[in-house]
């Protein structure tokens, strides 16, 4: 029993981390339908600027804040210079964002050097509680809480404001949305920036839990995020959460019980979900019902 609890907590924490990374992509890929392969790049930039400013100022929270600002700035630049010419064209999006990804992860090395960077956990989140045989790692509980918070925030914003609708409408027919008097450009910039900031935020939270970060992290996690968004159902926030938790739990439990499968479990999960529910776990129109 203790074992199951231990595994579940860790699985959920991993899932929440993945959710945080995927949440930005849910906006950018799921809602805006932009195949952003540079998402992982923003994630790494968040991780590095979080760690850098944490060690500079000694405050974990300032680090997080700086990561978010980094995400917002990079998001703005990316949207305006990279994404804007390629809305609606997935093939060109792939190439241009892959190019951006190369630039972003290489720039990391220019700015922060090519070595792995240690990423400490702030003292008050260090260590773990032991309750009987159950080990609860403090930082993981923290991540679970933050993940839940972000989920609620995003879910209710999309549910009760019009912005989600407008973005989806804009993707389906950009001209018409404009003809209805909506400045879709501005809204796309905004959503893209929020999505990027979420990625950077996830990076800043991820770094301490990994203990060390390196510039190649991005591609790996970018792909994770894509998987989660796809099996969750494009653009569905609850879908992303469920999918992320599934991935997290599946990884943890197979790593314990069937270690031989642990390397492929995410791919297997995706295979199974897509073969039986090609549209993903959640239906998109569930995002915004009023």
């Amino acid at each position: 029993m203790e074992l199951i609890i231990n595994l579940s907590i860790n699985g959920i924490a991993t899932g929440m981390l993945i959710f945080l990374i995927a949440s930005g992509l849910t906006l950018i890929f799921g809602l805006m339908s932009v195949l952003n392969f540079a998402h992982g790049g923003l994630f790494v930039w968040g991780a590095y600027s979080g760690v850098f400013f944490f060690s500079l100022t000694g405050s974990f929270w300032i680090g997080i804040l700086c990561a978010i600002v980094t995400g917002l700035i990079l998001g703005l630049l990316t949207e305006v210079f990279i994404i804007r010419p390629v809305y609606g064209n997935h093939i060109r999006q792939i190439l241009i964002t892959l190019g951006l990804m190369l630039v972003l992860s290489e720039l990391i090395k220019v700015v922060f050097g090519p070595n792995v960077l240690p990423a400490p956990v702030p003292d008050y989140l260090k260590g773990s509680w032991l309750i009987g045989d159950i080990t609860i790692i403090k930082y993981r509980m923290f991540i679970i809480l933050v993940g839940a918070l972000i989920f609620c925030l995003m879910f209710f914003t999309l549910r009760y404001s019009k912005i989600g609708l407008i973005v989806r409408a804009g993707v389906m027919n950009k001209e018409m949305v404009q003809a209805l008097g909506i400045n879709i450009k501005k809204i796309f910039i905004f959503v893209f920036m929020v999505g990027s900031a979420l990625a950077a935020f996830a990076g800043a939270l991820f770094a301490p839990s990994a203990g060390a970060i390196y510039s190649e992290l991005g591609m790996e996690f970018g792909i994770y995020a894509f998987i989660v968004v796809i099996i969750g159902g494009m653009g569905s926030i609850p879908g992303s959460l469920v999918a992320a938790l599934l991935v997290g739990l599946a990884n943890t439990f197979t790593a314990y019980y069937v270690p031989i499968l642990s390397m492929v479990v995410t791919m297997l999960l995706m295979l199974i979900v897509l073969l039986f529910r090609p549209q993903g776990l959640f239906n998109v129109s569930g995002v915004s019902n009023k």
């Binding site: 019009k162 609708l165 407008i166 989806r168 409408a169 389906m172 027919n173 001209e175 018409m176 949305v177 404009q178 003809a179 209805l180 008097g181 909506i182 400045n183 879709i184 998109v284 129109s285 915004s288 019902n289 009023k290």
Partner: protein, 236 residues
């Protein structure tokens, strides 16, 4: 004579490298219903899109309420008080009927609610399928949605591209009634192939051909002019 609300002066529009509109002149007087006529590919839709800023003109000026809007972005133009029903209906397929309407609402207040109720009375089908994804509506129902959506905001001018297309006669009647009603409040420009509808609603007409304005005048005169009708409209 009433004042002009919209004026196009020697408009030239290109789509990619194709020269679609060639020196189009077009004027709409406030409160007068103007109909754009012409055969397929004449440039009617392009004219409306140019007004909306969707295919901006490369030369010439578009003036709306005395203001030059030639270079305006579509959303700015829309916010100046122009409503638009595109010929392909422009509805958002994956959103429900309700969501389609909500996206269009500039304000969500009582006045909007009133307008909404009014359009729903006009097209009861929309009320019935309020929560249905708009992509699943029948062809005519989509058309209704597109028209209803353009009524939802306070506008000074509405551009409607072929409203009667795909609608059953009884609904066409309803649309005619509706346009007649809103005519008092806003000015309407219609592109219409259904000549009897054009005839009943229109006060002024313009005929386009090959991207050029060929004729314009009072609808009444056109009705008499058999030669014009035969030459450009194939009737008479």
């Amino acid at each position: 004579m009433s004042e002009s609300i919209l004026k196009l002066e020697s408009i030239n529009t290109y789509i990619d490298q194709f020269h679609i509109l060639q020196k189009v002149n077009f004027e709409v007087k406030k409160g007068e219903l103007t109909v754009l006529l012409g055969r397929n590919g004449a440039g009617k839709t392009t004219t409306l899109r140019t007004i909306m800023g969707l295919n901006p003109a490369s030369a010439g000026t578009v003036t709306f309420k005395g203001e030059n809007i030639t270079k305006g972005a579509p959303y700015q133009i829309a916010n100046k008080g122009i409503g638009y029903v595109p010929e392909d209906q422009g509805i958002f397929y994956d959103l429900t009927v309700g969501e389609n309407m909500r996206v269009a609402m500039r304000h969500e207040n009582d006045e909007t609610k009133e307008r909404l109720d009014w359009s729903l009375d006009l097209f009861p089908d929309l009320k019935r399928f309020w929560k249905k994804p708009a992509g699943q509506l029948s062809g005519g129902q989509k058309q209704m949605l597109a028209i209803a959506r353009s009524f939802i905001n306070e506008t000074d001018l509405i551009l409607i591209d072929e409203p009667s297309k795909g609608l059953a006669p009884v609904i066409v009647e309803a649309v005619i009634d509706a346009i007649e009603k809103i005519k008092d409040r806003t000015t309407v420009v219609l592109v219409e192939q259904n000549f009897s509808m054009a005839k009943r609603l229109g006060e002024k007409y313009y005929i386009l051909d090959n991207g050029m304005t060929m004729h314009h005048g009072n609808m009444k005169d056109l009705e008499q002019n058999e030669e014009l009708k035969r030459k450009y409209l194939g009737i008479g």
